[in-house]
């Protein structure tokens, strides 16, 4: 292995993904080669239906590739069992969704702590402390016991960011994180994400907006299931 590849957090080699829609085989990904280094902030762009969602799902271990190889932190994830995939999602990945996806009727603090319910041997006291720190970072210390429906969209997304960070993941996957937000909230979220990047986090963000991709180190463009640049 070269020194170059040692630093790769993610390496995709000829990854394909096919799925059935009725009787028709859809080729969502047609051979993707991609590597992302530790500490990079990468944006993924492309028209809808180009396969970028499928790519995100594979990178986030929500789906398995049909063919090819996916190395995550040097390990070949194509051989993972379902439980290993779940564990990797829990420990290695932090998800940020377009529609926030917070649990209703559950306090901000408990929402942030949710992933630790699925961690093995989580120290309740320690993770609680971490959660409080993260909520302070995203400026929501005063909202700990509120339920999501009492928060604005921007605030909800900040809770989701805090949740994505609770297990100190190797990769943050943000799927159009500002898609449901106004420009003011979008600015706040992008500030937080660039801040996280500066602290050394690896972030992959799907977006439709060219001006948002300018915040990132580089942009991957996907078209018809292939990377075009």
């Amino acid at each position: 292995m070269t020194a170059q590849s040692m630093e790769d957090l993610i390496r995709l080699e000829g990854v394909t993904k096919e799925y059935l829609q009725g009787d028709i085989v859809i080729q969502a990904l047609r051979g993707i080669d991609l590597s992302i280094k530790k500490g990079e902030f990468v944006s993924v762009m492309g028209p809808s239906g180009c396969g970028k969602s499928t790519l995100m799902h594979i990178l986030g271990f929500l789906a398995r590739p049909t063919g090819g190889k996916y190395l995550f932190e040097g390990r070949n994830s194509t051989e993972f069992t379902d439980d290993e995939l779940a564990l990797t999602r829990n420990q290695g990945i932090g998800f940020i969704f377009q529609s926030f996806n917070l649990l209703p009727r559950t306090s901000v603090l408990d929402n942030v702590l949710l992933p630790t319910n699925y961690s093995v041997n989580a120290d309740r006291e320690a993770v609680r402390k971490t959660a409080l720190q993260l909520l302070e970072t995203v400026g929501l210390s005063h909202r700990l016991n509120n339920n999501p429906n009492q928060l604005s969209g921007g605030e909800q997304q900040r809770v989701a960011i805090a949740r994505s960070l609770i297990n100190s993941p190797s990769l943050i996957l943000a799927d159009e994180p500002t898609g449901n937000l106004d420009s003011k909230a979008t600015g706040e979220i992008m500030d937080i994400l660039t801040g996280l990047h500066r602290q050394g986090n690896t972030i992959l963000m799907v977006t439709h907006e060219d001006y948002l991709s300018e915040f990132t180190d580089r942009t991957i463009r996907v078209k018809d299931g292939q990377i075009v640049g």
């Binding site: 439980d83 999602r89 996806n101 009727r105 961690s119 949740r163």
Partner: protein, 411 residues
């Protein structure tokens, strides 16, 4: 262990969020557990009551009733036929059977007893002097009937407390004259409070000499039944056989299958009643258990709806690292919690209901004991929780198999 606890806490919280629906879905379990406990408790109390009634005179009693014991046809009394085969002479003859302590013939009729303008409808029972020993009667005032009263067709009466109070609430009935069917009886004694035995209120009756009752009150020449008390330590089966021989000789019967009388003991009666009530209780428990099952199906139904509604939540949990096993557990905990909560409510209502029945029955003068064994309550709750979990299996498996990508895409 900790994560189970989290699942359960979350389960109760999501139940609380949809209170009215949760209560509706628990209703089946609530009613099921309530009726199982109520039936079990009331059954135990009823069995206890029946046994205590049958054995309330203490020791072994033997009863002789008219008519043979035909197992394949209803007893004649059910058809309105009055059998007249049992005579006073039979009672006298049974006196000589070895091991018999007391023999009492009974003549029962319901009559209006009056004292001046006061009247009371009560049972007037013709007996002999030995009934005091057989029933263990205690006197409050005056004397009991004597053998001489019986022999002389005396117009004397011994009155129970209930009758005495309704006829003459202010002053003692002792020495006064009451009339039954125009026949005047002098009250020579008052029994003290006796309670009930054999489902008869011993305080609500007037005892008169059997001879007087036959001739002047009922106008009959037979007796309704004969009861015997056995000297302690006697072989009851031998005695019953001896008594049967005496009866057959008197009634000129050579073939025992043609007996025109039936001899039974309290032990037999208690056993038979125990069997009957046991079978009844078993049957009722099966019926109520079916309602528990229906409650379980109800919960399964609502869990399917819940899984359907919360696909996004399931998808999110999977994305955040929950494996299929954890999702399965979460929904099992939820259905288990739902039926455990329902079971707890049902148990509370069932206990309250049984206690209420006890109060009501005691009000009518029976010594009704309230039974609610802890093992029954715990058992019902465990069964309820199990039913909930079993009902939750299929919806929970559905939830655990959801593809997170599809689930997250749902709006």
């Amino acid at each position: 262990m900790v994560s189970w606890w989290q699942d359960i806490v979350y389960a109760f919280r999501s139940l609380w969020a949809v209170k009215s629906r949760a209560v509706l879905s628990m209703l089946g379990i609530i009613i099921g557990v309530m009726s199982v406990l109520a039936v079990a408790s009331i059954g135990l109390s009823a069995q206890d009551l029946i046994l205590s009634q049958v054995t309330s005179f203490g020791g072994d009693l033997i009863g002789v009733t008219p008519g043979g014991s035909q197992e394949d046809s209803p007893p004649p009394i059910a058809l309105g036929i009055v059998l007249t085969t049992l005579k006073l002479g039979d009672a006298e003859a049974l006196q000589d059977v070895r091991g018999v302590e007391y023999v009492v013939p009974y003549v029962n009729s319901t009559e209006t007893v009056s004292l001046g303008r006061e009247t009371a409808v009560t049972s007037v029972v013709g007996v002999n002097e030995q009934v005091q020993g057989l029933e263990g009667l205690e006197m409050a005032e005056g004397r009991f009937l004597t053998a001489e009263d019986v022999a002389r067709f005396a117009r004397v009466a011994v009155v129970g407390t209930t009758v005495a109070e309704s006829l003459s609430p202010d002053r003692s009935l002792l020495g006064q004259t009451v009339s039954v069917k125009g026949v005047r009886f002098t009250v020579v004694g008052l029994t003290s409070e006796q309670g009930t035995a054999f489902f008869q209120n011993l305080d609500d009756r007037v005892l008169v000499p059997v001879t007087t009752a036959q001739r002047l009150v009922a106008g009959i020449d037979y007796v309704s039944a004969i009861r015997m008390r056995v000297i302690e330590g006697t072989n009851v089966d031998r005695l019953k056989e001896d008594a049967a021989q005496v009866m057959r000789r008197r009634h000129h019967i050579s073939d025992p299958s043609k007996d025109d009388f039936t001899i039974g003991s309290t032990e037999q009666a208690a056993e038979m009643l125990g069997n009957v009530t046991g079978a009844m209780q078993g049957f009722l428990l099966i019926v109520t258990a079916i309602s528990l099952l229906v409650g379980g199906i109800n919960i399964m139904n609502i869990m399917f709806v819940s899984v359907r509604e919360r696909r996004r939540e399931i998808g999110l949990r999977k994305a955040l690292g929950a494996n299929s096993g954890r999702i399965l557990r979460q929904f099992l905990a939820e259905s288990g919690a739902m039926s455990l909560a329902g079971g707890t409510i049902g148990a509370a209502v069932g206990i309250a209901f049984s206690a209420l029945v006890a109060v009501a029955v005691r009000h009518y003068g029976y010594s009704w004991t309230f039974f609610m064994p802890v093992s029954y309550v715990v058992g019902a709750l465990v069964v309820a929780a199990l039913i909930g979990m079993v009902s939750g299996v299929s919806p929970a498996v559905t939830a655990s198999r959801l593809d997170p990508i599809v689930a997250l895409r749902e709006e």
